[in-house]
């Protein structure tokens, strides 16, 4: 009887081998498929049943927190509202996360290595594990003011502290309410999401401050001027003053705004050319400097930095390939293939304000443990000397002149602002496509406390007649006023 018994033993082994082989298939080969299957709620439940850390503004105001619930997700995420959505992003059970919720997810959820010792002590002391918190550089009131000043238009405002790179405000319109996406009611989330991605919603979840790329237009003349100053030019140097030039080797003309003369119509000083935003002067200057010097100067201001994280990822600002001389002429006035983010344009202004030293822009001031003890603090670091201090001061003087030449809507009394406007043409048919309006500035000019960049898409309410001065400058001044007035 032992022979059949041994065969039964073999059959038993075969069954076990089958089970092990199948378990290998399920748990090793198909593991990722099953883990990431949308019907598998394990990963989501795990993240949501922990007490997520808070996001607080520079002054201690809460902009994202949690509320205890009785359902199985245990905590409901609460946000301060649409004004702060570009900063916080959303944290959804269905649609994942964006903004800081995504960039700092490890810390907020409590799985970051920086919280390791804390987790061990939680285990011993019997506390529920909690996420760490973030204290931001964002000024609570200024962020709201920036958002309010953009009401009715599509655009963005970025405000920086020039000496540190702290992001004081980062507003983007239209915006959205992240609270509905954090709802524990899946249907409510889906409904809200459908509305947000609708075609006529105008991309409310796009954080235009860091993810919007726009032609810089005349604001780019600051970079060209900086390169020219570095090459030995002064604000009194004579530059081209013709109303119209023809691009080399083509029939294409490049006119000043309304075909006006610059200076005497033949030459103008660099200061006057910047103040009046003469296209011909800067197109010719760009050509004289050449592609390499333009690129080098732009990189010193933070262009072409693909790795920049604030810690949100930032789209890379660039001058484009500039394949021939006409392209260089056009790039010199911020057109052709040049593209910047509002954040990058604010960095340009902040760098000039900070005597030519570029500071790394950042959103997170302090990383806090769940008990709000400071784990780390970002004091800001200088990443490049973009300009000589005396060149930066010369450029500042030129920007003060430019501000005087700008439409004075919303002017602040008693504050001297250094600024540059831009009216960036878009599309093939520039005469019938509404331009984007720019305003970059810092104030007070002699002792800067805030640097800003404002973009208003499609000319805002002024439409085809829009210029940076008419549409974007009043918004910028309102934001500067809100900041300086509050101090």
């Amino acid at each position: 009887m032992n022979k059949p018994l041994r065969r039964v033993g073999l059959a038993m082994m075969a069954m076990m081998v089958l089970l092990l082989a199948n378990a290998t298939y399920v748990q090793v080969i198909k593991s990722d498929d099953y883990r990431t299957n949308p019907l598998n709620r394990r990963v989501v439940l795990d993240q949501f049943s922990r007490e997520r850390g808070q996001i607080i503004a520079a002054g201690g105001e809460t902009i994202a927190t949690v509320e205890k619930t009785t359902d199985r997700l245990r905590y409901l995420r609460k946000y301060a509202g649409p004004a702060y959505a570009p900063v916080t992003g959303y944290f959804s059970t269905v649609f994942g996360a964006s903004g800081l919720e995504r960039a700092e997810d490890d810390l907020l959820s409590g799985s970051d290595d920086r919280l390791f010792s804390r987790r061990v002590s939680d285990l011993i002391k019997g506390r529920d594990p909690k996420g760490g918190s973030l204290q931001l550089t964002v000024d609570y009131a200024l962020q709201q003011a920036a958002y309010d000043s953009l009401q009715g238009v599509t655009g963005s405002v970025v405000a920086l502290r020039p000496q540190t790179g702290e992001i004081l405000a980062m507003a983007s319109t239209p915006s959205y309410d992240p609270n509905v996406l954090a709802s524990h009611d899946v249907d409510e989330q889906r409904e809200a999401w459908k509305g947000l991605i609708a075609e006529d919603a105008n991309l409310p979840m796009l954080n235009r401050s860091v993810a919007g790329l726009y032609a810089p237009g005349s604001t780019f003349k600051l970079v060209v001027a900086a390169a020219a100053l570095a090459e030995g030019k002064t604000k009194e140097s004579e530059v081209d003053g013709r109303p119209v030039i023809t691009l080399p080797g083509t029939q294409t003309t490049l006119p000043n705004f309304n075909d006006t003369n610059c200076g005497n119509g033949v030459t103008a000083t660099l200061q006057e050319a910047l103040a009046k935003s003469c296209n011909t002067a800067f197109a010719v200057l760009a050509d004289q400097l050449g592609k390499d010097k333009l690129n080098r100067q732009a990189a010193k201001f933070g262009f072409d930095d693909a790795d920049l994280e604030i810690p949100l990822g930032v789209e890379t600002s660039t001058l484009g390939p500039m394949p021939d001389r006409p392209a260089i002429f056009q790039t010199g006035i911020g057109q052709r293939d040049a593209l910047v983010t509002p954040l990058e344009n604010a960095v340009v202004a902040a760098t000039i304000a900070n005597d030519g030293v570029r500071m790394r822009p950042h959103l997170v001031q302090k990383v806090l443990a769940p008990d709000l003890q400071v784990i780390s603090e970002d004091k800001g670091d200088d990443v490049a000397e973009a300009m000589q201090p005396e060149h930066a001061r010369a450029l500042r003087d030129m920007m003060v002149e430019s501000e005087k030449n700008t439409f004075q809507g919303g002017r602040l009394s008693g504050v001297s602002i250094a600024s540059k406007t831009g009216t960036a043409e878009r599309g093939e048919d520039v005469k019938s496509t509404k331009p984007n309006a720019w305003y970059v500035a810092f104030a007070p000019a002699e002792k800067p406390e805030i640097a800003i960049a404002v973009i208003v898409e499609n000319g805002g309410d002024a439409g085809l007649a829009a210029t940076g001065g008419k549409v974007a400058a009043p918004i910028g001044r309102a934001v500067i006023g809100a900041y300086l007035g509050s101090r």
């Binding site: 009887m1 039964v8 059959a11 076990m16 378990a23 593991s31 394990r42 019997g126």
Partner: protein, 487 residues
């Protein structure tokens, strides 16, 4: 093979396993005690890990629980030392480890379910304390079985009685009215007495195995008599098909009356193996498999509950939110666990319906990973193989047949349930021996182990002197048949 009367094959084996009658073979009881302590240590560590991950608080109480587990095991060990001193030293530690791990997992699932149920105001009562009580009762029964049954051959005397009791127990819930035999989760296999319910089928499994072993030993030669030879197989005579047909009828009736596919498969598989071992004829297996397949196909055609199981096995995603939900959650859990698992207490067993009974191995796979699930499967393999070893070396044919059947029952049951949980075969509701919640299963399986230990005690013990066996009327019956055989 050899004659059961002369013990022709038993003699050399006896000589191999025990030396001269005067010298006692080693009992290996100390090995068992060390292994039991090791098992208790592992179980304690598992409990600590669960509580560390779940309650985030560690109390000294855990050590007391671990020590009392070891204490209970020591009592079982002393019973073995007293009443079955030569029993296999590995079987009991394997059982202890599985039982302990089962208790820890049931406790762990309690925590998860309480987390889900209590905040929503639903009632929830822990299953683990009840299972601990059942374990205590099962161990008492285990000790009692060892004491009462000093020789497994005694069982053969009562073969028909056991057979009758087993049949009654098996069929009873199916035919009784539903106030005493309620249909739970689609299966009608329980007898309910107030708050307390038992599954007579678990005990019927053992009773019928004893019957079949005794019956086959006494009527062995009837089945070895060849009928026609077809395609290289010696088919039995039609009139000898009686027992097989009876078993088939019982199996199919379980499937139909009680809607318990797992037990039906298990029961039929065991009968086939007993037949095969007794007769050494593959023809029986082939015939049985064909008959079962026909029965299964017909049942699949006729009965909705069979069809659904097969459908869920072929494509669980087809009805992912309803019929396929359970098996999908099991697969998701296994996949999320991956190679090393989410850690004890780190998984989401509340996602899987029936996590603490049929799907407990899925929870083990999720939290301990492929590695942990494989380890559990290997413990079962060791247990079954040790049982088979006892069957191989025991000297009487009844012991061989019963031991082989019991060992195979363990392996086949784990194949059916783990195969179902990992979607190797269609899911059929059946418990994982020693792991799953459920008193009947635990009691029955502890009796099964007591029988295996009794057989292995006989196999390894110094009772090698071939004694006349007056108390074996069944074998005595055969004597006349044997005389005619060598024609």
């Amino acid at each position: 093979m050899g004659s059961p009367v002369t013990g022709a094959e038993g003699a050399p084996l006896a000589a191999a396993s025990s030396t001269s009658p005067g010298l006692k073979p080693p009992t290996r009881r100390s090995t068992e005690l060390v292994l039991l302590a090791f098992a208790a240590g592992l179980v304690t560590i598992a409990l600590i890990l669960v509580d560390a991950n779940q309650e985030k608080e560690l109390t000294i109480q855990i050590l007391w629980l671990g020590l009392s587990f070891l204490g209970v095991l020591t009592v079982a060990h002393l019973a073995v030392r007293r009443w079955a001193p030569y029993a296999d030293p590995v079987i009991l530690p394997c059982v202890a480890l599985l039982n302990g791990l089962g208790l820890v997992m049931i406790h762990r699932i309690d925590l998860a379910m309480a987390d889900v149920a209590l905040p929503g105001g639903q009632p929830w009562s822990d299953a683990a304390p009840k299972q601990v009580l059942w374990t205590a009762i099962a161990l008492v029964l285990f000790c009692a079985s060892l004491k009462v049954l000093s020789d497994h051959r005694t069982l053969a005397k009562y073969g028909y009685t056991f057979g009758f009791l087993g049949l009654v127990a098996l069929v009873l819930p199916g035919v009784l009215p539903s106030f005493i035999a309620p249909e739970i989760n689609g299966a009608k296999i329980w007898l309910a007495f107030g708050a307390f319910s038992i599954q007579p089928g678990e005990f019927a499994k053992i009773l019928l195995m004893v019957f079949f072993a005794a019956f086959l030993v006494s009527k062995r030669d009837l089945f070895t008599t060849a009928g026609r030879r077809v395609l290289g197989l010696d088919l039995p005579r039609a009139r000898d098909l009686g027992p097989l047909v009876a078993a088939w009828a019982v199996g199919v009736s379980i499937m139909v009356l009680q809607k318990d596919l797992g037990s039906s498969l298990l029961f039929f598989g065991i009968v086939l193996v007993l037949l095969y071992v007794a007769t050494e004829r593959a023809a029986w297996v082939v015939l049985g498999v064909v008959m079962f397949s026909i029965g299964a196909v017909v049942a699949w055609q006729l009965f909705g509950h069979v069809k659904i199981r097969v459908q869920n096995w072929l494509d669980p995603f087809e009805d992912a939110r309803d019929a396929g939900y359970q098996i999908l959650q099991s697969l998701f859990g296994l996949g999320t666990g991956g190679l090393f698992g989410a850690g004890l207490g780190g998984g989401r067993p509340d996602q899987i319906p029936e996590a603490n009974t049929d799907f407990i191995t899925a929870v083990i796979g999720e939290e301990l990973g492929f590695v942990g699930l494989s380890a559990v499967l290997l413990i079962y393999t060791v247990l079954a193989m040790r049982g088979l070893r006892a069957a191989l070396s025991v000297r009487d044919t009844f012991g061989k047949l019963l031991g082989g059947g019991l060992a195979f029952a363990v392996a086949f049951q784990i194949f059916i349930i783990v195969g179902g949980v990992t979607k190797l075969i269609p899911m059929t509701g059946i418990t994982a021996p020693f792991l799953s919640k459920g008193g009947s299963s635990l009691l029955a399986n502890y009796i099964l182990v007591a029988l295996l230990l009794r057989i292995s005690d006989a196999a390894r013990g110094p009772k090698s002197t071939p004694k006349p066996r007056p108390q074996q009327p069944a074998i005595a019956d055969q004597f006349t048949v044997m005389v005619e055989r060598p024609k």
